[in-house]
Structure formats: C-alpha cells, structure tokens
C-alpha cells in the first residue's frame, strides 16, 4: 500500500516515458496486492472494516508497513534501490505464501509472486545500468544503496507465528541482491545501524505526511461513497 503510494508519486516525473509507464504499472501491482490483503485482513478481523477503512481511517501508529517503503523517493537511484530490495524480499515471500496452508493467502501469494518477479527484473536491470553506466550514475547508485540498505534488516525480523517466518527468507534475498550488486559494480555498506519499528507501528517521520496526503479527501467526507 505504502510502496504503491510512493511509486505513484513518480507519475509524470520519470526520466523517460517508458519508465513512467513501468513505474505506474508496478504501483498498480503493489496496490492490487495491498487491496487483496487488506480486504482479507478486514474479513479476518470481523469488525466490518473494508480495504478503504483500513487504508484511509487508520493513523500512522496503526500502520504495520516496513520502514523501507515509506522512505521518500529521492532520486531515481534511491527509488530503484528501494524497489530492488523490496522485490528481492517479496519474490521469496510470495513464493512461500503460495504454498502456505491458508488458501486465501496462498492464492494471493500465487498471483503476487509473478508480479514481483517482474518488479525484480525491472529493478535489477536499472541497478545494473546505473551502477555500471556513467561515473555520475555509479556514484548516485552507490549512494542510494548506502542510504537504503540499513532498512532491509527489519524485513527479516524472526516471527515464528507468521504464516511465513520472515527470517527464513534472508538467504534467498542475500543471494539475489549480492549477485545484482556485483554485476552492477556496487558494494554493500558496512554498518551496524538496523533501524526498525514499522511492524510495531513506530515509523519514521515520513509516514504521517504520506498518510495526511493520502487520506485527506476520504476523511473530509465521512461515510461518503466514491
């Protein structure tokens, strides 16, 4: 949901027209998966909340997204670093979900896995192009990896109670990311900083602004249909 919101911000701003289409396409996929998941979450909760109630009427302390996706878009390199890390995590996640015992989650995983594979391809290609392009693009792509990398650790916080324990996805993620960065002549930063908190509703300062914009119209007309 939040990743879709950020990608949607690129609309009309991409470096080339083909990329405008690609980013909108990926935003649409992320939004589609979010809608399925939110709808199902609302049903499980059984309190009558639909996808819109969950998207538009929760405050930032109630959002459970990882910090990675709420970070601002930055330049194109930052966006591609975020997309690479997100999709390298989502491919094994949705693949595992597709085989889980919960039928609804399995169906969502099966659908989203194919889309995530496309997102991963797209991000990998751009990270290679930028990393192994010009001096300027290499500098920016390395800076983007350095900036975003610390936020990936939160994705793999162990949770044995979850349908898929995120800790089990780490090896797959590391293998994918290392291969892409190698080819792109980029390196991972050495840092001990591992920001987290998103899954507990403790976010960066960015999320509240994002939600203020996203929710403004819906909240201004309580109970209205659109």
């Amino acid at each position: 949901m939040i990743a879709a919101q950020r990608l949607g911000e690129w609309s009309t701003r991409a470096p080339e027209m083909e990329e405008d289409i690609a980013l909108a396409n990926i935003a649409l996929d992320q939004l589609g998966a979010a809608r399925l998941l939110l709808t199902y979450a609302g049903e499980l909760e059984g309190a009558g909340r639909d996808e819109d109630a969950l998207a538009y009427l929760r405050d930032d302390r109630e959002f459970r997204n990882c910090l990675l996706v709420e970070l601002p878009n930055g330049d194109f390199a930052v966006t591609m670093a975020k997309l690479l890390f997100l999709s390298a995590y989502q491919v094994p996640l949705y693949t595992a979900l597709a085989g889980c015992a919960d039928e609804r989650l399995a169906a969502i995983g099966a659908k989203a896995r194919k889309e995530s594979a496309y997102h991963l391809d797209h991000a990998s290609l751009w990270v290679r192009r930028l990393g192994d392009g010009t001096e300027e693009s290499h500098r920016r792509m390395q800076a983007a990896v350095d900036e975003v990398w610390p936020y990936t650790h939160e994705l793999f916080t162990p949770d044995p109670a979850a349908p898929v324990d995120p800790a089990t996805l780490r090896a797959d993620f590391d293998a994918t990311v290392t291969a892409v960065l190698d080819e792109a002549t980029l390196t991972l930063p050495q840092t001990s900083w591992t920001p987290a908190g998103g899954r507990d509703g403790v976010h960066t300062e960015h999320l509240s602004y994002l939600l203020a914009e996203m929710q403004v119209l819906h909240r201004a007309h309580p109970g209205a249909r659109w």
């Binding site: 935003a27 119209l217 659109w226």
Partner: protein, 352 residues
C-alpha cells in the same frame, strides 16, 4: 476489470464505439481490396490523389505532398504532446484519490495516456521525424499541446469532469480520425479511441456517484462541470470562420468534419448525459432547436482560447516547467542507460 460495475444502459460512449468499430472494419476491407491498378511509377501526385479518392490509406513509404507530411507531423505531434502533458492534471490526484479502487483506476488511466503518447510519437516517426526532435519542439514551446490541459484540477470531481467532458470531446474529435487517409494515424486512432471511451465512462461514473452522494459531493460535481464545460467546448478549436487549416485537411481526408460540426455533435451528446447525471450544464441559453434538430448553445469565449494557446492560461507555465524538469532531472539516467548499453555491445563484440 476496472469500473465495469456500472450499468451499460445510460453510460456514454456506446454509439461512438460502434463508429470506431465500423472504421476498423472499413480499414480491413480497404486493405483486402488492395490498391487499384495504378503503380507508383510515373505520376506520383496522380497516384496519391487516386489513393485518397478511393478511400484507401497512404502508407509511410508512399510519396506524399510535402505539405501533407508537414500537416500530419504537426497534428500527430500535437496530439502526442497532449497525451503526455495531459497526464499532469489527473496525475495531480493519484496520491489523494478517495478510495483504493479509484486510485487504481486513475493510475491505470494515466498509464494509458503515456502509452497513447508513445504510440502517437511512433506514428509521427513514420513520417521521418524523430521522437527526440518532437520532444525538443514541445519543450522549447515551438509545438503546442491541447489548451485544455492548462486548466487546474482543484477537486476530486475535476477528475470525473475531465473523463466525461474532456475525454468525451477528445473522442468526438478523434472518432472521425479513425478514417483519416494516413494509415498509421488511422490505426493509432482506432486503438486510442477504444481506450478513451473507456476513460470517458469512468469519468462519467465518478460524476454519477458524486451527484448521487452527499450534498457536498453533489456540489463538488456541479462546480467541476461549471468550470470544465467551456474549456471542453473550446477543445474543438476556433469557429469555422477562423480556422486556418481546415479546407486543405478536409480535401486530404485528414479531417472529416469542421470544428463547429464536431462541437455541435458534442453538445448534443452531453445534454442528455447531464440529465441522467442530475447535473446542470452552465449555459442558460442551452435549448433544443426543433428546426435544426440540434441544441442551441452559447459559444465559448474564443478570446480566452487564444490567450491560453498563446501561453497565458492558468497552468501553462506550470505544465511546461514540470515537463522540462522531469526531462532535465532524468538526463543522467538516460545517459547511464546509453553508456551501459554501449558497454554491453562492446562485451558482446569482444566475446564474438
């Protein structure tokens, strides 16, 4: 899958879609008929005239008068630019769309517009001009885009009004172009019109929901229609008495109807739809004329249209600045892609 949950009966676009399909059938039929005996050997101009007369298509490799080529480049490029600049007023509401379904529909629509832009640039390129050249002409202000996109989207209802009125006017304008004499343009228009009529229906659906929602929503819808009605009428261009390109374009079968004829067709179409919406068209002089079998209406302010075309509409500077900035800020990315591609080609050469 988007927005199909609206009963088809009173939604707009049905009749126009039939026309698009008829044009598509005619195109296929003309292709099967093949061209008449003449070969393009001796008298090129006579051959060109013959193809036009026979309602067949001029294709990129055919000889064509230089003025025909130039007129088409100008018109197709302006059309492509309009798709690209036209993403901005609607893109302005993606982040604030009031439901997830509406957000998805709007994202898909803006994406479609980028696709139409690319498709039209490709059609223009068949006439021997490159997309980069055309983009430069847009960014330097030497080529125009539709005046309508220089108006701001101030509320969510504007997204609905753009769909219903702006896309509606675009379709009325473009459906006859599905039969235009230049093959690549005609084929592009068939594809574009199909998607546009879908967009128009989505816009109509937004307004319908608002007009049947809370009083605040209905007021929002009416306000949007009040602001977009005349700019939409102006989209058909100056009145026939002032139109400079019309006669030649008609003779070449690029244009098939005059500005005023299309404008009238649009007004007649909208009046009924506005009634179903429960919204008022902001023209006190609007009334059925039994003699003409058409609605009388107040003309848009053509002085305002000329001011907007000249660059003095509410958002001209903002739209151009936005496009220029996206282009400039993306330069390093395009350079990186080119450098990477060159390296890859080198590697392949070394390997081979």
């Amino acid at each position: 899958m988007y927005g199909n949950d609206f009963p088809a009966g009173d939604a707009p676009g049905g009749g126009l879609l039939d026309e698009v399909e008829a044009a598509e059938a005619a195109l296929r039929e003309a292709a099967e008929r093949g061209r008449r005996g003449a070969t393009a050997g001796e008298d090129l101009a006579a051959y060109f005239a013959e193809v036009i007369d026979a309602d067949q298509k001029i294709e990129p490799r055919d000889w064509m008068p230089e003025a025909y080529r130039k007129t088409l480049i100008r018109q197709i490029a302006q059309h492509a630019h309009s798709e690209i600049i036209g993403m901005q007023p609607e893109g302005n509401w993606i982040s604030r769309a009031p439901s997830l379904k509406r957000k998805a529909i709007l994202l898909a629509k803006v994406q479609d517009e980028a696709g139409h832009g690319l498709y039209l640039y490709a059609a223009a390129e068949t006439l021997g001009v490159s997309r980069d050249e055309l983009v430069d002409l847009l960014l330097s202000g030497r080529q125009k885009y539709s005046s309508i996109f220089n108006y701001p989207t101030l509320t969510w209802a504007d997204v609905g009004a753009i769909g219903w009125l702006v896309d509606g006017a675009a379709i009325v304008n473009q459906v006859p172009l599905c039969r235009c004499s230049y093959g690549p343009y005609a084929r592009a228009m068939i594809r574009v019109c199909k998607e546009e009529s879908f967009h128009q229906r989505q816009g109509y659906e937004i307004l319908h929901t608002l007009a049947h929602g809370t009083p605040a929503q209905k007021a929002m819808a009416q306000d949007a229609v009040d602001r977009w009605w005349y700019p939409s009428l102006a989209m058909f261009g100056p009145p026939d008495s002032d139109s400079t390109h019309s006669a030649q374009s008609m003779a070449w079968k690029i244009k098939r109807f005059s500005n005023d004829e299309l404008r009238q067709r649009f007004v007649d179409m909208c009046v009924q739809q506005a009634e179903v919406l429960g919204l008022t068209i902001p023209d006190p002089a609007l009334r059925w004329n039994d003699e003409r079998q058409a609605y009388d209406y107040t003309q848009p302010d053509y002085d305002e249209l000329m001011r907007v075309i000249k660059g003095e509409g509410p958002c001209n500077r903002q739209r151009m600045e936005h496009r220029r900035r996206a282009h400039a800020e993306g330069a390093w990315v395009r350079e990186a892609a080119a450098a990477y591609a060159a390296k890859q080609r080198n590697k392949e050469k070394v390997a081979a």
